[in-house]
Amino acid sequence: MTPVSVTPQAVLDRSDELRRGLDGSFRDSMVTSLYQRAGELAGRSVREQGAGKWDFDQRIDRILTSRWLGLPVMLLLLGAVFWVTILGANVPSQMLANAFFAVEAAAAAWFESMGAPWWLTGLVWHGTFRGLAWVVSVMLPPMAIFFPVFTILEDLGYLPRVAFNLDWLFRKAGAHGKQALTMAMGFGCNAAGVTSTRIIDSPRERLLAILTNNFVPCNGRFPTLIMLAVIFVAAAFPPAVAAFAAAAAVMAVVLLGVCFTLGVSWALSRSVLSGEASAFTLEMPPYRRPSILRILYTSLIDRTIFVLGRAMLTAAPAGALIWILANVQAGGTTLAERSIALLEPLGTAIGLDGVILLAYVIAIPANEIVVPTMLMCYLGGAMMMDITTYEQIREVLVGQHGWTLLTAVNLMLFSLLHNPCATTILTIWKETRSARWTALGALMPLGLAFLVCFATAQAVRLLPL
């Protein structure tokens, strides 16, 4: 046979020509024949050993996704995760704080004995170091417990079942069931949650998931919620059930976040993101035995260290900034006092105060530093009182700064709803490449937070409670 010279264009033309002769069903036949062939090959070379594993999986699935037990079991598991975190994190947090403040005191004394100027000692130890110390002691223990426990659930293959259980709600909200998976990622870090929305194919539903991911409290916000739950909720219960009460309070906030996610998705899919539900298919993988070493590695190294490192990077300059604000005077008052006075009216209107708002402004780079910033502002840069236990924090907040239950509730709401951190905003921009969606993703939650907090504050003040 003599070789025939064929130009690329001729091949393309010929394929175009041949394509016209095809009817639409050739794709179906292609996939069908591929599956048939694969089935034949598998039948010849793969031997199945009974159906034991699948029966076992299905028995578990029948419970975890059942009509009556599916949702209660899900809530119970989530509650258990919070309970374990709260119960386990309390003592190590105090120990870390004690240790760090001992170091701070000793180092500051050493600096002074070396003849260092007061502002250097202050900036380095009472500013930068104290910021770092707070972040590590407030965040490390809850993270080191929460992430591994949550990773176990993930590794078992439970999360797709959650998506399966909740899909109906998301469909009613005009969203995609896989949004539940991206929300689960958001528990760790909202920026990671936003990135994980890539598993949703439809651009409309993906945008919904991106814009509402912020309503899942990320790990940086959990310490705030846990602290408030312990100080204001658990304190009202006898010690035996205090941890349960605190876990229930955190759960309630998380569920409220889910309600906001669904509500905002519903509103968006009937306004700026209107459209039809796309095809939903979700594969439910078989259950696997979690590999402990891998869990420890991914949850401690990949997640805990990563998130903590990021928090420390922002906490160090923030600590220095707070120290400067609290110690640099202009016209007789410190800069901190001036900015707090400026924010006070707005803070009071929404049931918070100027210090909390200032803390949130300073904490825009990372939500983790809200509580440390707040406490440092309340205590003042010059005050040397070290507080390490929740009782002492309660004394400072309620006793010295007039916090009420309303303040605590509104701070929880504000923490749940307010704007995403700078990293998340940047991630939204990277994923959407649109300034408008990014702006909406940042400002919509902020507006909602102000609105909701204002409403509760006014309601409580008007009603004779």
Partner: protein, 344 residues
């Protein structure tokens, strides 16, 4: 001081008007250019549509369809003439060869966009036309080519109209109006006319969709009684004129089953007969990729609190589908009758 203020305000005003690309003037210019383009393209489509009905368009018919004053229509036609796309004669306005190619490009963009909205965005049939009417003018040739490749070079739009090819050729529709189809003989719906909208809505209400099998059960002087998808509907003959049908061919490979995957009870088994012809594009590909090909055995594995979605056991994996997806999978009872299986 105030003079400076006025000066600054004046400078800002001028800037907001005249800044290239972002100023109001530039916006207005862009808007004008877009309007001129969409008007001339709409006019080309109208003339093409009339030529397909072997009629010549006129200034009056153009003014009627496009809702424009005669003076505006005159300007549009003049610009088309300058471009060499139309020729007017005493009988009316006709497309030149290049004008016809241009018109077909617009039609191609329109129908591909409808296909995209239907397949990728799941948009209901009744909304497609309006959305595509807007999009067709702003798609570039490259974008249209990209869309075509993305959709897998479809031959027909969601109503069954053939999509013109890039070289400006178009295959003819081999179908007759439902009015001319004999009573009692099953036919395949090849095409539904989406204009006028009110008639199209009647068609959709009667459960008629392209690629569905329809049978005329009764034929009256002004109406037809039709059977489609297991239900009976009465439609006017004027409506039936907008429905085009053809003979069923073996290669259409229509699944004959009535049961759907969503009808199966918890724990029940079935065998896939095929996917509904309503399910096209991305969603069809997704279902096929999951292994829901004809002959596959499926078992209902899991319910949940809300009863939707449900999970199915397919080829050794568990897959959750919403009711809307499970509706698209047609089933036969399993196991099939042994007598049938033995037959060649």
């Amino acid at each position: 001081m105030s003079a400076l203020g006025i000066l600054v305000a004046g400078a800002l005003l001028v800037a907001s008007l005249a800044v290239p690309k972002f100023g109001l003037l530039a916006k207005w210019k862009r808007h004008r250019a877009y309007r001129a383009k969409s008007r001339s393209e709409d006019a080309l489509k109208h003339i093409l549509a009339w030529q397909h009905r072997s009629k010549l368009a006129s200034l009056e018919s153009l003014a009627g369809t496009m809702g424009l004053r005669p003076a505006a229509v005159l300007r549009v036609v003049a610009s088309l003439q300058t471009a060499g796309w139309v020729e007017s004669s005493a009988g009316g306005i006709a497309l030149t060869a290049s004008g016809e190619r241009r018109a077909l490009q617009v039609v191609r963009a329109h129908r591909l966009w409808e296909r995209h909205l239907s397949d990728d965005a799941n948009m209901p049939m009744a909304k497609l036309h309006q959305a595509a009417e807007r999009a067709e003018h702003s798609l570039s040739r490259e974008q249209v080519a990209e869309l075509d490749a993305h959709l897998g070079h479809p031959q027909h739009d969601p109503h069954g109209d053939p999509i013109p090819r890039p070289d400006g050729t178009i295959s003819a529709l081999h179908a007759v109006s439902l009015n001319e189809w004999p009573v009692g003989r099953p036919a395949l719906i090849a095409h539904l006319e989406d204009e006028p909208e009110a008639v199209f809505r009647q068609i959709l209400l009667a459960n008629l969709r392209p690629m569905r099998v329809v049978k005329v059960a009764e034929s009256g002087p002004n109406h037809l009684v039709i059977e489609v998808d297991g239900g009976q509907h009465r439609i006017e003959r004027s409506t039936a004129a907008n429905i085009h049908v053809r003979e069923i061919r073996p290669q259409d490979a229509l699944p004959s089953a009535r049961t759907r995957l969503s009808d199966l009870a918890q724990g029940a088994c079935g065998e896939v007969a095929g996917l509904s012809p309503d399910c096209q594009g991305l969603s069809r590909r997704r279902l096929l990729d999951l292994g829901l090909t004809p002959g596959t055995r499926v078992e209902v594995a899991l319910d949940n609190t809300f009863g939707d979605p449900r999970a199915f056991r397919v080829r050794g994996t568990t897959v959750a589908l919403r009711r809307q997806q499970a509706d698209q999978v047609l089933m036969r009872p399993f196991p099939p009758f042994s007598g049938k299986e033995a037959a060649p």
